[in-house]
Symmetry: C2
Subunit: 410 residues, 2 copies
């Protein structure tokens, strides 16, 4: 008899038929003896339809009104899912974010949750009802409707699970769990039974877009066991938990990669204090996000500076760099937008040496040139030419034996 | 500098273009120096789309969830209209029924308004904002979303006007006012500059479906001046007010008619106390609404009883009447579903004799047989064969000179 929060995204509730399939799945959990709170997104396509109308009216829609508008998407889904449950004889009640007082700050379109009033929900659960809550939305202290931004329904689910001290927060998606790497690149990629929050954060930020980073952070902070499952097929999914003592962690959990990177290098910059700020300041002001940053000693008291940005921002960043290079008297600016970043991720890395050198050896054996390297406690990332992406990921997946649960270090 | 409540129905806000036209009209009122509160319905078609999805899921959708579902319709409109006003540089704020605490009872799908909190609205108006409120919806004391039933947006507008003590409540529709009769039947039909609440109630209940009866009753009760205007063309519309002393009321304001009537007659019923109840009891229990009721003395201590119902209920009512006739030992049951009801309406009727006889004379001259007659203080209704509808209405419109503002009694 567990308390479960289940979250279904837009694709999972994208039609009347799918909503009925979700109702069936929810009822199965209730029949297993669990108390269930369901968090749902808007039906797929609905949010874009609403935003489309808004933009026809106002090029940059007033954020307060945009929130009021798009919040209707989830409100439709909660009502329909509650009806689907009632139609199956399962008592259920729907609640908007405002109705269960998912209190947020007033930052419209990307509000942050501050608290949730769980009294009403607990009352319904005690009465044997399924509680269906609108994800993605909340209300500020003035009663204004707010939304949490893209992927906010995951955050709503985790926040509800934390507030209710739920036994598990299940995120239903169109994939059946977290994989060692993208199965489209490596057919032998294996679904992980469990992964730590830290690993999941690295995997998510590196392009394994199963969950929103914010919801994983949130789950980690409040120690909410998070499970990723498929809403279209049965299976245990992947459990995301705190690192547990006593459990032998695999050295490498997975290989993430990010295709949309571009690299910029400015060479022969006079090496003086504040040089990094002078180079990256204009990039930040232009709202361009910087991913990796490397600085090397160059020739003659100068320094070489390299960083990566999203490929879409490459041209803009290159223009800015040329201006900066003129101002600083740098020798040369170069760039490359045909690169990818590949990362090995694993908490076990902390206690094992030799991972990096093994990675570099595998790539060398495949004659793949490494352009940049960056490391963190549980991650090693390399930047290589994008034409080698598949080759590199497959070679690493094989070398680290990720297709089998046991990992060797030979 | 007046305080105006404007209400726009689903057709008036049925597309992005129409919402922009409404914004233009609202802004014109603001530019005239008026403070404006706008009440809107869901975009036309939206409520039916939502109900369609609900019925796919649940044959009889749970009322609580149905209200949560359809309330999204107006929420979309308030947000889009507020954006359209903002886009024109006019500050505006949207509010759902819950946000301005349009407090109702808990009778989902046909809730009744109990109170409205006007503090927020007044604050916005004082700050120079247009306030856009979702019609049709409210919230009960437990925070559950309720709706007021069909045409409820008119009621919302009138209730807001009453609560705010507005100078006028303007109902924008697809007609430019209240006419002496249906212009499709009588091309010479004339728009009335003003009409009393009582006349309007009789006109509305008799098939001139310009306004919901409830909103007219409400406006009359709270003495809210109500004006019906077109949202597609400019014009003064029709003002609906209390009868004013000193103003010479026209004898007849208009001619209403009702096409979907059917008549049932049970003859030779033993005349005993409670006979009307014995006849109409089963009709009421079957949820059939009865309109006109007539009882005549028949032959030999028996009585003849005639009543009208909606044409859709005719077969069911006839079956019930045959059973009743058997039980009561009545002589004969007959019915006719090819009839119409035509009514002359006018508060001036009270102080003028001869209206009825003039009406009967006009119909006789056209050789139209009258099957039933009923009268009230400000109305005379006759039931005739439906084939004579157009002929009768035109003859009466001419005879009472409704195409000219002055009415003669000659």
């Amino acid at each position: 008899m567990a308390l479960i929060v289940q979250k279904y995204g837009g694709t999972s509730v994208g039609s009347v038929e799918r909503i009925q399939a979700v109702a069936e799945r929810v009822q199965r959990a209730v029949n297993n003896g669990d108390s269930v709170v369901v968090v749902v997104s808007a039906m797929s396509g609905e949010t874009n339809r609403l935003i489309g109308m808004a933009k026809e009216i106002q090029a940059e829609p007033t954020p307060r009104e945009l929130d009021t508008l798009v919040a209707t998407g989830e409100q439709v889904t909660i009502a329909l899912l509650s009806m689907a449950l009632q139609a199956r004889g399962q008592d259920a009640r729907s609640y908007t974010g405002a109705q269960v007082r998912i209190l947020t700050d007033s930052t419209h379109t990307k509000a942050r949750i501050q608290s949730i009033d769980t009294d009403t929900i607990r009352g319904d659960l005690d009465a044997g009802r399924v509680v269906v809550v609108a994800g993605f939305q909340g209300v500020d202290e003035h009663g204004q409707i707010t939304t949490l931004g893209r992927g906010g329904s995951d955050t709503s689910a985790v926040a509800l699970a934390a507030a209710l001290k739920a036994d598990e927060c299940q995120i239903y998606t169109d994939v059946d769990g977290v994989y060692t790497t993208d199965p489209r690149v490596v057919p032998k990629a294996r679904r992980l039974d469990r992964i730590t929050f830290e690993e999941m954060l690295e995997m998510a930020s590196l392009g394994s877009k199963v969950l929103q980073i914010r919801s994983v952070e949130f789950a980690g902070k409040y120690n909410v066991p998070l499970r990723v499952l498929s809403s279209f097929q049965d299976g245990p999914g992947t459990l995301i938990t705190l690192e547990e003592d006593g459990v032998e962690e695999p050295v490498i959990s997975g290989i993430a990669f990010h295709k949309d990177e571009a690299q910029l290098t400015i060479k022969g910059v006079p090496d003086s204090p504040g040089i990094a700020y002078k180079i990256l300041g204009p990039i930040g002001e232009a709202n361009i996000e910087v991913d990796m940053i490397l600085q090397n000693i160059g020739a003659d008291d100068t320094t070489d500076f390299t960083f990566t940005v999203h490929r879409n921002d490459f041209d803009k960043a290159l223009d800015l760099m040329r201006k900066t290079a003129d101002e600083l008297g740098a020798r040369e600016v170069s760039g490359n937008h045909n690169i990818v970043k590949i990362s090995l991720v694993g908490v076990g890395m902390r206690s094992h040496a030799g991972i990096a050198s093994k990675m570099f050896r595998v790539l060398a054996e495949e004659k793949i040139n490494i352009r940049m390297i960056a490391t963190s406690e549980i991650k090693i990332s390399v930047v290589i030419d994008d034409k080698y992406l598949e080759l590199a990921v497959r070679a690493l997946h094989d070398a680290f034996e990720l297709d089998t649960p046991e990992v060797s270090l030979s």
